[in-house]
Symmetry: C2
Subunit: 113 residues, 2 copies
């Protein structure tokens, strides 16, 4: 059973795995989604604490992309001081099995080498 391959608007070949990688690939997104899915709603600075090593720029950039892709929700309160809460979206919840598999495999293999 091979994957179905198609061609995108730029002539680049894509398969559904590449599509998934495009949405949640990279160093931070799976971890961000994991925290929001299993630790629940978080404020911006709380996210920073959950992701040691991430920079301001990366965090806001990744959050923005995830929001644009509809995988997380952003709720802004117009208070002083400002407050913004991030949470997993309905669509983001469909990633739970994938995130769980990533977590399970990592936990299982860790140290087994």
């Amino acid at each position: 059973m091979s994957d179905s391959i198609t061609v995108d608007e730029n002539g680049k070949l894509k398969c559904s795995i590449e599509y998934t990688l495009g949405k949640i690939g990279g160093k931070w997104k799976p971890v961000i989604l994991w925290h929001l899915a299993y630790d629940g709603t978080q404020r911006y600075n709380e996210m920073r604490r959950l992701l040691p090593g991430i920079t301001h720029k990366m965090l806001s950039q990744q959050l923005k992309e995830l929001e644009v892709d509809g995988l997380i929700d952003r709720k802004q309160f117009n208070e002083v001081p400002p407050r913004v809460e991030y949470s997993i979206s309905e669509k983001g919840l469909t990633l739970k099995p994938l995130l769980e598999e990533m977590h399970r495999w990592g936990t299982e293999q860790w140290g087994g080498e």
Copy 2:
């Protein structure tokens, strides 16, 4: 339920999801593993055909890393011309649920936006 966080030898924080990303993260590895897992054993040049757009360097590099990590097997035949066959390993097979989830999610979401 939060992920357990530990510290690696360099002082960098890692969780099991980051561990997984370290092993199969990146642009090519999941797709390579997918083909070997579902299309079966492939020769080097067959892999190239299955991965349109990948360069020589990237393919051999990724294959080498996957082999070192024990996720794929490399079988070399000392013939002329040379022949090398790559296949998914026992350990690599444990990634099947993860690969299937990546494939399933990508297929499901594709076009749904």
